[in-house]
């Protein structure tokens, strides 16, 4: 049975306790930095910083490795292709047939790898330390219309349900002799109809029942609604937020002034 991972790690650390809005904005800023920073050393330091945050928030090795694994294909691809993507440059390290690997192309590749990884890890840090409910709630508080927020919540909520459903459907059809692994692409595609069709029918049926259930619980009864959960902004949140902004602006300023930690 395919089990869809829930990313949230239930711990009680400083980062877990931060207001989701502070975290969401920090992640956006961190991703901007990922794009902005252009030298390997800065990116590397930034990467180390994110990892130390992960350690601090008790995310655990398993989740860290999960994060590394999910972006591994892209990482490896960029690295392998770097001599082709960034040809030329000095000094030449090795020559493999028509390929020339230079220090410059190597560092360029490393830069892109680090960039992708810092961006991915910023997002993972958010998802590991923020429950889906707080995440959606933060977004709604930041101006996302409630209906979209509810839709997003339900989409996240039903991922494991659909995962389990597809698992059961696949088992049902396999028990009737369906061999999904066999045959060429076209034949395989046709076989998957036996899984896809019941999945669609069940999903639609579930959506129907769900809409009745939601209407029965007073959805849309009033133009305005109460939000039971309150996000309380604490002093710690404010201080953290201010710090993040200051650090971000300083890095950007230094960068615009041409300060680099490492130059090729």
């Amino acid at each position: 049975m395919p089990v869809v991972r829930e990313l949230y790690v239930d711990e009680d650390t400083f980062i877990h306790r931060l207001d989701p809005r502070v975290k969401i904005i920090s992640v956006i800023l961190s991703m901007i930095l990922g794009v902005l920073l252009h030298d390997v050393l800065s990116l590397f330091l930034f990467y180390c910083f994110l990892i130390s945050l992960m350690v601090w928030s008790k995310v655990g090795w398993k989740n860290f490795i999960f994060g590394v694994k999910t972006i591994a294909p892209v990482t490896i691809l960029i690295f392998v292709l770097s001599p082709i993507s960034f040809p030329g440059g000095e000094p030449v390290i090795a020559v493999l047939g028509p390929l020339t690997i230079s220090l410059q192309s190597f560092l360029k590749g490393a830069e892109f790898v680090l960039r992708i990884n810092t961006m991915a890890f910023s997002v993972y840090l958010l998802l590991f330390t923020t429950s889906q409910r707080d995440l959606v709630y933060g977004l709604v508080k930041m101006g996302l219309p409630y209906n979209y927020g509810l839709t997003l919540t339900m989409a996240l909520r039903y991922i494991p349900t659909f995962g389990a459903m597809i698992g059961m459907i696949t088992d049902s059809q396999k028990a009737r002799g369906l061999e999904l692994e066999k045959g060429n692409f076209l034949r395989k595609a046709r076989k998957y109809v036996a899984v896809a069709a019941p999945t669609m029918i069940n999903a639609l049926r579930m959506a129907d029942q769900l809409s009745i259930a939601i209407a029965s619980r007073g959805f849309g009864a009033k133009a305005e609604r109460t939000f039971f959960r309150e996000l309380r902004v604490s002093k710690v949140d404010i201080v953290t937020f201010v710090l993040v902004i200051i650090v971000f602006i300083m890095i950007v300023l230094f960068y615009c002034m041409g300060v680099r930690l490492f130059n090729i």
Binding site: M1, V3, S131, Q132, R133, V136, T153, M154, L156, R157, Y158, P160, T161, M165, M168, I169, D171, S172, Q173, K174, A175, R176, G177, L178, E179, V193, A194, A197, P198, I201, N202, R205, M206, Q209, L210, S211, I212, A213, I214, A215, S216, R217, G218, F219, G220, A221, K222, E224, R225, T226, F227, F228, R229, E230
Partner: protein, 593 residues
């Protein structure tokens, strides 16, 4: 002010779904008093759910169609209000927990209703506390509903409806998908609502024993009409009439019915509940007779039906399970050292709560799961050496939810899917489809899209689609869940036929009456282990052990066991047996002679 005491008033209500030729409701007249507990029973397609949906205006507002007649709920004409405006009057709980719980946590689920009604925050807080307390789910407040058991999910659904402080609570088959423990949990909450919170409750269910216990009034519906209406005793004493409609009566009601016809009682009797029956029997048949310590010393042997007493262990084994342990990735052991032999031609039932390992065990029989430790032999072949497709020729598996496999455009094609996967010739496939359709009695529907059939018939389609693969062994996973008594009986007949033809049948079920009716041997599972493995009689005569697995034998068996001090046998399975074991001379005659 006689009028104001009726909270629901329905007069000559007709309703037709859009794109449907027939009316789903045909002239319903019904009034429900404030604080009343009304139960609605009837076969599938009777219009019970449709009636429920008219109570909060989902019909016709949401689903369209045409409606005639008048309906008033809590003083409001439901046709004039949108459903969400009626939610503070009528709370709804539906059958499928998965499609009514959509929040990340239990707390949010319960808060959703009052949030929509713009209830102030501190008031919502109070309502959550109260509602979760009523359903006894306080400690699950921050859990994800998805990770709860079936019974817990339905209790959350009830709390989510209660938090809107409705005047009426409507429950549409809230327990029909649950295991015995889940049913018990939900029913105890529902009966408490009635007793302690004086709420008006409308309940649609098949569990007549429970309905008889706490309903004020029972309504029997069939094809859009109300056929019978009255107190539980007025309704359930009409055992014969109910049977014709396709609804079962509590076993104790069947008992009183049989006593009335077989024994010339001076005055006809009617049992509705267990305690009523026991009291009467003790008073009339046993009081004054010496309580016996053991029934084995009885001079007259207990009379029993013979056909089911065949001991397990006959014939040659077709499935051998040796020291089977199964661990799902990253989870606890689902099976812990299972040893089991299933003989050719057996009809065996596997019972136990959800999560006890029943499904995990039987999924090893056709190779869907492979042992973590130990081994499983199917006809002397180790399942690890075969693919699921290869094993599907030997072991057929009918899954619980027919909608997880139905996808073809006609019944015929659906039934042909399996044989086609086996790579058979076209003429062989046709022949097998014919035969399978004949066995389940669906020849009439061969060209019909299976998804348009009723649940009972969809089950038969999935059964036929396994029969057509001609496996010697068949696994049926909860085949009677959610279908009415009429469909259950015809399904059981089909299963018996298949067994007589030589198929080994392995049945997973939560319905102990079904077990008593057809299984020769019962395996009871609990926490990944086999708790009991014996003949049906021997298993049901150990209620103390069964309690560990939260299973209770059929009502009639429990009744017999409660009379054990008077020398009554403890392993009776049928109402007929029960009557034939009652002394012929009643106590009072006894005393006068």
């Amino acid at each position: 002010m006689e009028e104001s005491s009726n909270i629901i008033e329905i007069h000559d209500l007709w309703y037709q779904y859009p794109n449907s030729k027939e009316h789903a409701l045909k002239g319903i007249n019904l009034t429900v008093r404030t604080g009343e507990f009304l139960s609605i029973i009837g076969p599938t397609g009777a219009g019970k759910s449709t009636l429920c949906l008219t109570l909060n205006g989902i019909i016709p507002y949401f689903l369209g169609g045409t409606m005639k007649g008048s309906i008033e709920v809590a003083g409001l004409n439901t046709r004039k209000y949108i459903p969400s405006a009626l939610t503070s009057k009528v709370g709804m709980v539906f059958q499928e927990p998965e499609s009514q719980l959509f929040s990340m946590t239990v707390e949010e689920e319960v808060a959703f209703g009052p949030e929509n009604l713009k209830v102030p925050r501190d008031e919502i807080e109070r309502r959550i506390d109260w509602a979760l307390k009523v359903v006894r789910m306080e400690e699950f407040r921050d859990r994800s509903p998805f990770k709860l058991s079936g019974g817990q999910k339905q209790r959350v659904a009830i709390a989510a409806a209660l938090s809107m402080l409705p005047e009426i609570l409507v429950l549409d088959e809230p327990v029909s998908g649950l295991d015995p423990l889940g049913k018990m949990e939900v029913f105890s909450v529902v009966s408490n609502l009635r007793k302690e919170h004086e709420m008006t409750v409308v309940l649609v269910e098949y569990e007549v024993e429970e309905i008889a216990r706490f309903s004020d009034r029972v309504v029997v519906m069939d094809s859009g009409r109300i056929l019978l209406e009255g107190t539980p005793s007025e309704v359930f004493k009409q055992v014969d009439r109910l049977r014709k409609i396709g609804v079962r009566a509590p076993q104790v009601s069947e008992l009183s019915y049989l006593l009335n016809t077989e024994r010339k009682l001076p005055k006809p009797i009617h049992f509705i509940t267990f305690s009523e029956a026991r009291q009467y029997l003790v008073r009339e048949f046993f009081e004054g007779t010496k309580p016996r310590t053991s029934h084995s010393s009885q001079s007259n042997m207990p009379k029993r039906n013979q056909d089911l007493t065949r001991p397990p262990g006959e014939g040659k084994p077709c499935i051998v399970v040796e020291d089977l342990t199964h661990v799902y990735e990253g989870e606890v052991e689902a099976l812990r050292g299972i040893n089991l032999q299933i003989m050719e031609g057996e009809l065996i039932a596997i019972i136990g709560q959800n999560g006890s390992g029943k499904t995990t065990l039987v999924k090893h029989f056709n190779g869907l799961l492979k042992p973590t430790k130990g081994r499983v032999l199917v006809r002397d072949v180790d399942t690890r050496e075969k693919t699921v497709a290869e094993l599907s020729k030997l072991v057929g598996y009918v899954f619980q939810n027919p909608d997880h496999q139905i996808f073809e455009s006609s019944v015929e094609k659906e039934v042909a899917f399996g044989p086609r996967n086996l790579g058979l010739s076209e003429s062989e496939i046709n022949q097998r489809v014919e035969e399978a359709l004949r066995i389940v009695g669906l020849e009439k529907y061969r060209a019909v899209p299976p998804s348009t059939l009723g649940l009972g018939q969809r089950r038969l389609v999935t059964l036929a689609s396994v029969i057509s693969m001609k496996p010697q062994i068949m696994v049926l996973d909860e085949p009677t869940t959610g279908i009415d008594w009429k469909d259950t009986l015809s399904l059981l007949d089909t299963i018996k036929t298949l067994n007589k033809q030589g198929h080994t049948i392995i049945l997973i079920t939560h319905d102990m009456r079904v077990v008593a009716m057809i299984a020769r041997r019962v395996v009871v599972m609990s926490r990944g282990k086999i708790l009991l493995d014996d003949t049906t009689r021997n298993v049901f005569s150990q209620p103390e052990v069964l309690k560990e697995a939260f299973i209770s034998p059929p009502q009639i068996t429990v009744l017999a066991q409660s009379l054990e001090p008077y020398g009554f046998p403890r392993d009776l399975l049928y109402v007929k047996e029960f009557v034939s074991n009652l002394p012929y001379v009643r106590k009072k005659h006894h005393a006068s002679s």
